[in-house]
């Protein structure tokens, strides 16, 4: 004998349930209709809850900003092309320059129209992208100019800070401070690889004891850019042991890329 309650063997049973059947092309049975009048609003409550809550549990938004502008400064080529812009006004802390990394407009190095003038004072137009104290200017060309009156004649020499072992992550210097969210970690890995492969400066992001981010430009033992050698380690947690040199507010860590350790 079957135990299925639908197959009621006793015709005398009180109030036999109406045998309703749904087919899409005919009228909906009453019981199914009333069920859906309750179920569909429930689904929509779910839609609203998900829509409001899901973006809030993505905790990777950054406050990266960008702004178009004109910049005048001394163009330096190593370890990666960057611009030393004389600071205006009273200079309290050590450096006379702000240091802006340079890139092209896409995931690329600054073009030859810029790098041809390395070592000279230039004026360039571009988009400055910044996050915390890391700034990159995306630019398409530079015009040589005379050194502005009163500008420091030469950059201050680097201050060797000694050997450090740092934990952190290799990022691209452009999309990390820019529009990307999170701009770091595995989800951003593909973009960072393309950027660094294309010539955007590779930046090492570590942190101090308080957890504030610290940025280091990567250089090999000769002080040259390491872009092509580090592609496979981008966005992975790694440890770098190397000589840190401070140029104003910019830090450079020199180490052989083959000595970087994944942690």
């Amino acid at each position: 004998m079957t135990s299925d309650p639908m197959n009621n063997p006793n015709p005398q049973s009180p109030k036999q349930q109406e045998d309703e059947f749904f087919s899409g092309y005919s009228r909906w049975p009453k019981s199914i209709k009333s069920f859906f009048f309750k179920f569909i609003p429930l689904l929509f409550v779910g839609v609203v809850l998900f829509g409001v809550i899901v973006p809030r549990v993505h905790d990777q938004f950054n406050a990266g900003k960008f702004s178009r502008g004109e910049f005048q400064g001394l163009l330096v080529g190593e370890p990666v092309p960057h611009l030393l812009v004389p600071r205006k006004g009273k200079i309290e802390s050590g450096s006379q320059f702000s240091r802006y990394l340079l890139s092209g407009f896409s995931k690329s190095a600054p073009p030859a129209k810029v790098t041809d003038h390395i070592g000279k004072w230039v004026q360039l137009k571009g988009t400055a992208v910044h996050r915390n104290n890391l700034t990159v200017v995306a630019t398409g060309g530079a015009e040589p100019i005379d050194a502005p009156a009163g500008a420091p004649s030469a950059p201050e020499p680097g201050i060797p800070l000694g050997k450090f072992s740092l934990n952190g992550e290799i990022l691209d210097g452009k999309c990390y401070p820019g529009v990307m969210k999170p701009g770091q970690g595995k989800t951003h890995r593909a973009c960072a690889i393309r950027c660094i492969s294309g010539g955007v400066p590779a930046v090492f992001r570590s942190h101090n004891e308080q957890g504030d981010p610290l940025y280091f430009l990567l250089a090999d033992n000769e002080g040259k850019a390491v872009n092509k050698q580090v592609l496979d380690l981008v966005a992975d947690p790694i440890q770098i042991e190397g000589e840190v040199t401070q140029y104003g507010d910019l830090f450079v860590i020199k180490a052989d890329p083959s000595s970087y350790q994944r942690v």
Binding site: I193, S197, L231, D232
Partner: protein, 90 residues
């Protein structure tokens, strides 16, 4: 990132592009002229239906080329009841 991965990916992409290009050309011809030979359900000129099957035909085009060559039409599924019914009716 390594060069062999790039080479393999590029080769695979080329293969898929060729496969889908042939498929897309065949799909247009099939949807306009040939579908009636394969499926008797494709009567009339329901344009929406013909557009809807094109992406699928671009992928499964070898199946329809085969059916057109063999002169086959829409097959009937084979399940155990149908097979046993066939055996017993012979």
């Amino acid at each position: 990132m390594n060069s062999s991965a790039i080479a393999i990916t590029t080769a695979l992409l080329l293969f898929f592009r060729i496969y889908f290009t042939i498929g897309a050309i065949f799909a247009v011809l099939f949807a306009v002229f040939l579908v009636k030979r394969v499926d008797p359900g494709a009567r009339g000129w329901a344009i929406g239906f013909r557009l809807l099957i094109m992406p699928g035909v671009s992928v499964f085009w070898p199946l329809f080329v085969w059916r057109l060559i063999r002169g086959q039409q829409t097959p009937t599924e084979r399940n155990i009841h149908r097979l046993r019914a066939q055996q017993n009716s012979v």
